[in-house]
């Protein structure tokens, strides 16, 4: 038997069903890996090893009775933005330290109903605001990858940095993430793994700590495209508790992975050939185009003319929604409470003490763009530009079935780099934010290595509710790229 932690999610599922391995031994292998590597990587804020063993035992009983769910016995890591009943849920913020929800998020409930096992809650940027996982109150996450011949600690990307690092370092078979502007896809690229943000509305947002509600979307991380297809299916579907969750039927994503791309038209957006993007990112993109051409797809140049305005649009809309959503942290109903001689001081001081700088800055920008006299100039304007960005995609998808782009403008960078200038940090999401604004599905997968030996990825974007084509295209790229490099930096 190979090392249990080297299995893919799909292989583990099949081995469990065939009773070649037990859920308990699988959970134990990941628990041991977590206990060994987490002190260095800081991928988990909370390890739930006892709960994992208990759930794994129950899974073995169900497997023995032939009542296994779709993810029976599969050990998962859960981003610490999903409320988990009785288990600390922090959003990586000081203001929620010690918060133990008395309810379970819809996404995680669906996973437990499908038989999955929870290994722990993963680290993230505070309230999912960041692209480097350096804004967590619980410390930085360390990327398991290192540059060749260099010991510098690198960021795992963000905001779902802990989830991505946990998969790359084999501390879980799959991990949930959330993606508001790139928070699944960019860390997947930085950590050399695969992750998907499905269409806005595919998954319920109920019980997930809110950041920007018109953009927030649950999604998954795993080693392969197929693993993501199996995993994602289980968290999708309508939920009466989230009125924006879609009534659309959830297709069999797994069946789409091997379908191939013969006859599909793949769009290459010319505006994504940006100045200042490293040549190796461009070369990787060309490589991806060649893979799809060889597999029988037709390559079509498309135009997304408002791409340039996506980031500033996002940095009006997301902070505006965040300033409203985060108004609930007032030191009264839950979370940290600071002293104050009157109620207003209590509010002001609790929020000053409980939030970190990135979160404060975004709440302040959001409050400003929503304030009297600026609402039309900033917020309304951004919503209109958002409509144009969404229309760009609609028009492009009249000509093509999927779009291929780079995932991030660079490989993982060192901790502390890009920290002085918020706008430089925001540029990390230049290729992922437009998709989020348009609410479309995007999958990031590793395709090659940089000259420094770090993973680089490509992004496949699909029509709304057409994750199946995204999986087919990604499957074809994955087979051609045959990416099998492993991190050795931990």
């Amino acid at each position: 038997m190979t090392n249990l932690t080297d299995l893919t999610l799909a292989n583990a599922r099949d081995a469990l069903k065939a009773k070649k391995i037990s859920a308990v031994e699988l959970a134990d292998a990941f628990i041991a890996n977590g206990e060994k590597h987490n002190p260095k990587l800081n991928a988990y804020i909370t390890l739930t090893s006892d709960l994992a063993r208990e759930q794994a035992k129950a899974s073995d009983a169900k497997l023995a009775r032939g009542e296994a769910g779709a993810l029976e016995g599969i050990p998962l890591a859960i981003k610490d933005l999903y409320c988990t009943k009785g288990v600390q849920t922090t959003a990586a913020s000081k203001i929620l330290k010690g918060f133990k929800p008395t309810y379970e998020s819809t996404v995680t409930q669906k996973l437990w109903d499908a038989g999955a096992v929870m290994l722990g809650k993963t680290n993230l940027d505070e309230f999912a605001m960041g692209s480097s996982n350096t804004t967590s109150h619980f410390g930085n996450v360390i990327n398991p990858w290192k540059r060749k011949g260099d010991t510098t600690d690198l960021v795992p990307g963000g905001s779902s940095g802990g989830s991505a690092a946990a998969i790359a370092a084999r501390l879980a078979l799959g991990a949930t993430g959330t993606d508001t502007g790139g928070s699944i896809r960019q860390p997947a690229a930085f950590c050399g793994i695969t992750g998907i943000k499905p269409t806005y509305g595919r998954c319920s947002r109920w019980g997930t700590v809110a950041f920007a509600s018109s953009l927030d979307q649950a999604g998954t991380f795993a080693h392969t495209v197929k693993d993501n297809a199996i995993f994602l299916k289980e968290i999708c579907g309508h939920d009466p508790k989230d009125s924006t969750s879609s009534l659309n039927a959830v297709p069999d994503f797994e069946a789409a992975v091997g379908k191939g791309v013969k006859g599909l038209r793949i769009g290459i957006p010319k505006e994504y050939r940006m100045e200042g993007i490293p040549a190796e990112i461009d070369a990787l993109w060309e490589q991806g185009i060649a893979f799809l051409k060889d597999a029988g797809a037709e390559i079509v140049e498309v135009s997304l003319p408002h791409t340039h305005y996506a980031l500033p649009t996002y940095y009006v809309i997301a902070p505006a929604e965040a300033s409203s959503n985060l108004a609930r942290y007032d030191g009264v109903r839950f979370g940290l409470r600071a002293n104050g001689s009157n109620l207003q001081e209590l509010y002001y001081n609790s929020r000053a003490e409980g939030f970190g700088n990135e979160v404060k800055r975004r709440i302040m920008i959001g409050s400003y763009v929503l304030s009297a006299g600026y609402f039309d100039a900033y917020y309304k304007k951004a919503q209109k530009v958002r409509a144009l960005i969404a229309r760009d995609f609609t028009q492009a998808f009249e000509k093509v079935d999927a779009i291929l782009t780079p995932t991030a403008p660079s490989a993982a960078f060192g901790i502390g780099e890009n920290n002085d200038d918020p706008i430089a940090m925001y540029l990390n999401d230049v290729f992922t934010v437009p998709t989020s604004l348009a609410g479309l599905p995007g999958l990031a997968l590793p395709v090659g290595l940089s000259k420094d030996g770090l993973p680089l990825g490509l992004q496949v974007i699909g029509r709304a509710f057409d994750e199946e084509t995204v999986f087919s295209v990604s499957g074809a790229i994955e087979r051609a790229a045959n990416f099998n490099a492993k991190p050795e930096g931990f």
Partner: protein, 95 residues
């Protein structure tokens, strides 16, 4: 646009966040540069474009106005930093 110290203080009030003098200086500078960067949206011609609030396109569903959940006082208070007699407590509001 340039932000004055008073502007930053006003934003702090809107955001309900206490700001030290230091905070006012560095947040002021950062917010100013971000707002300057956002200004580029004004170049985009949006005449006749309807503002997009939601991408879902679906009309929100109707449901009966009835209680589907409730009687969870203890759950709701479980994470309160201070509570008494089954209520949240705050400093005195009315003298």
């Amino acid at each position: 646009m340039a932000l004055t110290k008073q502007d930053v203080e006003k934003i702090g009030k809107l955001a309900h966040i206490a700001l030290s003098e230091d905070d006012k200086t560095h947040f002021g500078k950062e917010i100013e540069s971000i707002l300057k960067w956002i200004e580029q949206l004004q170049e985009v011609d949006t005449d006749g474009v309807e503002a997009l609030a939601s991408v879902s396109g679906a009309t929100l569903p109707w449901r009966k106005d009835e209680v589907t959940d409730g009687n969870k006082r203890d759950d709701i208070l479980a994470n309160a930093p201070h509570s008494e007699y089954g209520c949240f407590t705050v400093p005195k509001v009315i003298e």
